[in-house]
Assembly symmetry: C2
Homo-oligomer: 478 residues x 2
Amino acid sequence: MTAVIQRELDEFLYQQVVRLIRQLQQQQLLRPGERLPSLRQLSSQLGISIPTVRQGYEELERLGLIEARDRSGYYLKAQHQPECRPGRLPLSNKPVPVRQQSLLEQFYQAVHQPGILPLGIAQPSMAQPSEKALLRTMRRVTTLAGQQVMHYGPIDGFAPLKRQLALRYLDVGLSLQPDDLLITNGGQEALAIALQAVAKAGDVIAVESPTYFGVLELIETLGMLAVEIPVCPDDGIWLADLEQALASQPIKACIFSTAISNPMGSFMPDTQREALVQMLEQRGIPLIEDDVYGELYFGAARGRPAQCYSCKGLVLTCSSFSKTVAPSYRVGWLLPGRYGREVWRLKRALSFASSLLNQWTLCEFIASGEYDRNLKKLRQALKLNKERMMALVQQHFPAGTKVSNPQGGAVLWVELDKPADCSLLFQQALQHGISIAPGTLFSPSQKFRNCLRLSFGVRWQPEVELAIQKLGILARQA
Amino acid sequence: MTAVIQRELDEFLYQQVVRLIRQLQQQQLLRPGERLPSLRQLSSQLGISIPTVRQGYEELERLGLIEARDRSGYYLKAQHQPECRPGRLPLSNKPVPVRQQSLLEQFYQAVHQPGILPLGIAQPSMAQPSEKALLRTMRRVTTLAGQQVMHYGPIDGFAPLKRQLALRYLDVGLSLQPDDLLITNGGQEALAIALQAVAKAGDVIAVESPTYFGVLELIETLGMLAVEIPVCPDDGIWLADLEQALASQPIKACIFSTAISNPMGSFMPDTQREALVQMLEQRGIPLIEDDVYGELYFGAARGRPAQCYSCKGLVLTCSSFSKTVAPSYRVGWLLPGRYGREVWRLKRALSFASSLLNQWTLCEFIASGEYDRNLKKLRQALKLNKERMMALVQQHFPAGTKVSNPQGGAVLWVELDKPADCSLLFQQALQHGISIAPGTLFSPSQKFRNCLRLSFGVRWQPEVELAIQKLGILARQA
């Protein structure tokens, strides 16, 4: 055995056991139907306690990878995943208007119905809630700041928060001046302002396919057109497809996620981010970079925002605290590149300043180190949830179902065999108290009818497992 | 003497003394240079204590209405206000594009400079801060609500807050369903969404003249044109002028304040509001009603929002907690009339939900009765500040200066003799650590160069009096 337990890692020991067994399986050193080492055996081989090994085995059992057989130990189960990842889509050959209000309205209504298990909405921070620490911070802030915290804050944001954010960008080699950063009412306002700064009604905007429906709704609301660029399940958009689209269509701007795409969960490598920025800046086309999941990577590091590779100031980076700490605070930010003046003015005209109290609290939350401690725990919790939910989907959904393997974030993209209709599945799931996000929301051209997005950004509990099981049954009937 | 002290009124007794003497002066029962009743005399006549009478006289002295003469008592001063209110302006004969970024940017930068006395920005709640009560409420909410308060709230707003607001509208005879109300990120977002729901780039929008610069900036940002309708210092816009403009210009929508206009401080009588709504609905033209100062009336009652008179659903009412409790919370609301669907969708696309924690806190603040208690004290404080600041302006500004007599809100509109240039005055005042709002900000057509707006929404302190004195000196030099 080459893999060994490393006590200095962040990973829990039992998770290292999980990883070890998966490795053995992948290397085919352990094959379906074979018996795993006994608890005692592995405990003495690895120098860890028997309960720790048992915890790892129990987790593997939950994940559906192994099974316990009475008085005989644990066995590796058969897996049905020869090609389980979503496939490559063809590039669209023309832009389309966006019209999908009615399904979206039903979807949003469902999310806020009481008693509904919200697997449809992406709220990663719920996997590892930090509200106690945050509220402690808020109380400290209100005591210290007094009346001042009730005043209008500056329109471009609370300067100390901007400073904290600028400091964080230094870690990825980005040196920002205070004017290079504007605070917004959450990530959605950042996207809305960025898009209005670079394009107008009638313009063609390149988006990922599938893409976050908030982007599509924004394009629809502003009277623009969308052209879809297929996303590779691993690496973000296919650059060759983008190049082809740029050559043939009058693209005015692009909105892509470089870090963790939503819903696909792909992660664009740094070299590819650099190539993307070069391709667009050469042609003078702005890139709006949706980086809201940037801190929720499962790999070794967060990767450098595309912003780092910009030479001409044509990259606008949008991010937010909504996915990492507090959706309810509505605090996001925008690095506007060369569009500082337009962006500042749009913010002032459209919504004036953002909540000062919330900004001040988040500023203290970062400064005190709580934010980073929380992020670390959140990434761990999300990664674990992902493994669990992927395994449950593979176990309960019909054969032929494909599922993404997200490199971060909080959602799985599930592709059923055609001609399954997930809008119907959405309605049926609702009747069982579960909300999901049907695939058609993620495309302006009625693609992805047979797909759905599931959020693993939840507090893990038996109800979640039962819900996936129920969804699997419904999917088999579909 | 017909006027008597009424102990059951909200008004402090000493303020009733102030009112009595002003009445005597207006009725010319007491004339400039004449001696006021002695403290002892008035005390026994009115049945109140000598210190209370003295407090009233001291206030009158601060207001510059009377003066104490050594060992001889108090005397009514001579007043130079034969026609002290701003005059009527002619109606513009064509719409104009809005372009005033550069002055506005300087203005906003000035407001947030440390150490500047902010007489330029309207923050009425600062006259009677309620941050302690509000923070107590917030702590209660966070304890009660727990983790839930960190989640995304519904896009159209926190339902219990919507209910509280709907209950308040019942008092003015408006019966609302939950869908008749949408929560926004402050009043500016409410205006932005309302305007985008009813008009598009290139459309002509009727505005007050002078009008709040946030409205002008919004029109500019959305690529619309403005046509200015003069405001009467007492009653809001001149309806005859509006009628004339409607007949001759392609007005697509109107943005007016019906309650307290900003900067003029006029208050449209209910009958006139009704006539306004009829005039517009007959022609199928939407009215966006800016009601952010609606609760800050100095008269007997708040008046009915124009919304109450709408038959066709063409009135959109915008309001906010920013002027009454907490500018920093960024919570406003919108009654969209028949534009519910458009407005809901715009909110979702442009900024998603508003801060749940802040909404929840304000909901509790209303439900507990604190909001109304606070409003009552705030109106008293503002009214007193108004009297003080008006008197100081009359005392220190050059002869010929006209000043509005606002019926509520937090600002005075001051008109200097032409050709004074208040943009210059703005720069000079800044060098003395005072920010004011120069008049040209309030018109897209370079009107009001000789005007300025002064905020009395401040904690009254000697610095404020010194600042008005200093402004008076600068104005004399202008």
